[in-house]
Amino acid sequence: MSKMVTLSIDGRSVTVPENTLVVDAAKMNGIDIPVFCYHPKMKPVGMCRMCLVEIGRPMIDRATNQPVLEDNGSPKIQFSPKLETSCTTPVSEGMVVLTRNDKVEAARKEIIEFILTSHPLDCPICDKGGECPLQNLTMRFGSKEGRFLFDEKMHLAKHVPLGELIWLDRERCIQCARCVRFQHDVVDDPVLDFHNRGRSLEIMTFSEPGFGSYFSGNTTDICPVGALTTADFRFGARPWEMKPAASLCAQCPVGCNLEYTVRREAKSGGATVIKRALPRQNESVNEIWICDKGRFGYHYTQDPARLGQPLVRRDGELVPVTFEEALKIIAEKAAHQPFQILAGGKLSTEDLAALRGLAQESGGKAWLHTYMSGGFTPHYGLSADANLGALGQGDAVLVAASDLHEEAPIWWLRVKQAAERGAALIVMNPRPTRLKKYARHVIRYAYGEESLAVAAMAEENLALAGEEIRAAAETLKSARNLVIFYGSEGLGLTGSKGLEQALADLLERGGFTGRENSGLIGVWHAPNLQAGFELGLPPAEGLADLPAGGVLYLAAADPAGDDPRQAAYFSGREFVIVQDLFLTESAKLADVVLPVLAYTEREGTFVSGERRLQRYYPALAARPGLKADFALTALIAKSLGYELEGRAASLALEKLAASQPAFEGLNYLKLAEVHEQWPQVGGSDLYYGGTSYANRQGLGKHLSRAAKPEPDAAPLREGIRDVPKNALRLVPHTRLYDAGSTFAPSRLLDQRRARRQLRIHPRSAEPLGLQQGSQALIELEGAPFTAEIVLDETIPGGTALYPRSLGVPMNAPFHAVVKPVFDKSAS
């Protein structure tokens, strides 16, 4: 507990921890001091002078070192001759702060006048208008006329692209450096900076691509004026025309809390559409940030290619029918058949529970479509009051087989911050990633040997282990908490299982299981795989694992799209049902295709990788005729004579909570609970945190710890140890901007989207005749493909890295012959 300090602000006595800044002390006690450059998530710089207040301190007699007293015995207060910036001044005992007297108000008026010297005040056409502190402060404190000469206002460029995502209006910039400091200090992408100075000062970027950062959109939130705007939203709508709706990001397992703002507009044919995604504050999850994938990734939900009507196969063709007809056909064909179900990790918890119910009722089985194993996370994962934001000195974080910056950017940020607060970071990966810079220990292993490396750290007998492993093991011995992230770099399902078990073993042996802020976190490739593991669904990479015969039912899973060879498993089935947003490759092979509502048009829950159960609300009205996945599954069940909860998502969750111990006691009301968070954001107040929304719709709740799973006895290392001559070991990795069906429709990111590239060490490339930038042919049996060669000295010899979700029909490591594609036209 830090020492407390008592001071008076505007005549009120307040007590706050020592070192609190005056501006924060005031805010904590409901007193707004206007700011521009100060932001509670960043160090103060005192650049704008907006936060000036009058400060007095108890007078001390130099001779006696005693406070001087007034006649009435109260301490005599000495006021500084000049006003002070409350954002750079820490509180002190007995301090007297005045934030609203004439002197302060006059200063505010002057600062506003000064800031407006060349500001265009083009609020009527400014995207920030309506949620802009400069606008609000000008209305409140600004004088009616400036004394500066109107004709001498600077006129600067108003449409400067800082890359294709973020635009700068130079005239509006008030030089607060919030954007620059965010990029440097918060996310360590120093790609924005000041150029020139004084009135000519300008925000610029020299990165390639321009403003190259996965976090760039956040600067548009915290910019206190309309200088920075996103290409996605600028000139799109006025803030007051839009309605906010609480939601979650569905792009990765972090579960960032979002707010979608929507409006009905002529431009979209009279439909109500999402105009933008903004962060919603959840200090235990995403604070007030989101990554650009989350900000710009929602477009698939309103893509014109979405299915609007069921399709059934007639004479070999898929033809549109009504839901009644489709259900009738299902009732006929699927009666008394076991359902073999493949369910995707983009489904809600309720959807997954419904699918599991249908499988059980029909005597079949539901599988989770994933190349990652996670059956241990319900027991070894986080629970209760775990919070990555509380990790620091004395704690340890281990990141294994994951490039967090690419797989889950906000987790990357949270881990970086934990390391900066003093947590010991151990990074295990065969090649360097961006976390390396913050790591205390870096452990390298060969692809395929991840579980061996972990086992070496867990073993008592460390003699054979390398120095780094021993040092890391030493660190773990004294750690209070250990949070482990494991990803899927270089791993398929088998390898993932091995790694997961080795890591669970490490937690177990270190005595970390059950500790408050310790546990295993899977860096999943979908937002809600965790729920699938909580429900005990066995993982399946594709259809090969599913028993033949019966009804095949795919929901939010497209195995044939991932790998054309999977099409073979569709034949020989009695009946195939595909339920999806789009006419996927798998849907094209189905007997019945059922469209569903996007998650933005319904409610539901996701379980984040941290095992936090969170609610999302409908941002848009349901499309006429369509249903949510769980409701549709319940209808199918009903047509076959089974009873499932399909009336409301809240009821479905309640039913689940009654039978699944980890969910015990949780319901939609509990998930909607909020408590006050610091810093306070989202109000139209003058202490401006940004356009991030305050959380009024729920912070979610952790699941409780599930029973201990049985370890797998089988050997769990990826099978391809012996790479045949002439072949390379090809290992998958994940890139943030991929071409998956729920991200590709965000065309704005096209220029930054990862390409189908094979990264390979120059020494491995040379003997194969592969050159930088050339095309290579990869002879994958039954599904050859080409990729662009990128020479990369960080890739271990004999291996090549390929990106997932970019057209390579594999998600697990494999070996293949790689050779140059010769340009026929040239020969």
């Binding site: 000041f194 150029h195 020139n196 300008e202 020299f206």
Partner: protein, 171 residues
């Protein structure tokens, strides 16, 4: 290839040696001087190379280049004649001096004479306030100060610079 490391291997090492290992970014200013002396201005390529040497982003190097009037991002003339017009100098007539000087040589502030020898620039305080009007001349890798100037004396200096340029061309 990093042309700065290539052309100035020893100089770069000497510059880096002046700062602690973990504060290499301090070397950014002398390195910018180094390339400006070589190229006459600082290209984006050079900024990229400097960024690589000191381990900061190109944007941060560009920001330093952009902050100081001493550094140039565009080619400009062989000599940059930089006149201070900050308040103290202005009080001693620097504004008028600059205007007349420009009129005399027939170019505007920021422009370069057709022969490519002189670029005139307006800069902030050069710490010669009490001897204004004053300017500095940057070129050939050196900086020279010229205080208590009149338009005539400045024109003489320009003529001298032109002779110097011609002589060097002839070599």
């Amino acid at each position: 290839m990093n042309t700065i490391l290539n052309d100035y291997a020893d100089e770069v090492q000497a510059i880096l040696a002046r700062y602690p290992q973990d504060q290499k970014r301090s070397a950014v200013m002398p390195l910018i001087h180094l390339v400006q002396a070589r190229d006459g201005y600082v290209t984006k390529q050079a900024m990229t190379e400097i960024a690589e040497i000191v381990g900061i982003s190109v944007t941060d190097v560009a920001s330093v280049v952009g902050f100081y009037t001493l550094y140039h991002e565009e080619k400009g003339g062989r000599y940059h004649l930089q006149v201070c017009t900050d308040l103290p100098c202005a009080l001693r007539g620097a504004d008028e001096f600059l205007a007349k000087l420009c009129e005399n040589i027939g170019i505007k502030v920021g422009e370069t004479t057709p022969d490519g020898v002189i670029t005139i620039e307006e800069v902030t305080c050069l710490a010669g306030c009490h001897h204004a009007p004053m300017f500095q001349v940057q070129g050939d890798g050196a900086i020279t100060y010229h205080e208590n100037q009149s338009v005539d004396s400045a024109l003489e200096i320009i003529a001298e610079l032109r002779r110097k340029a011609a002589a060097q061309e002839a070599e």
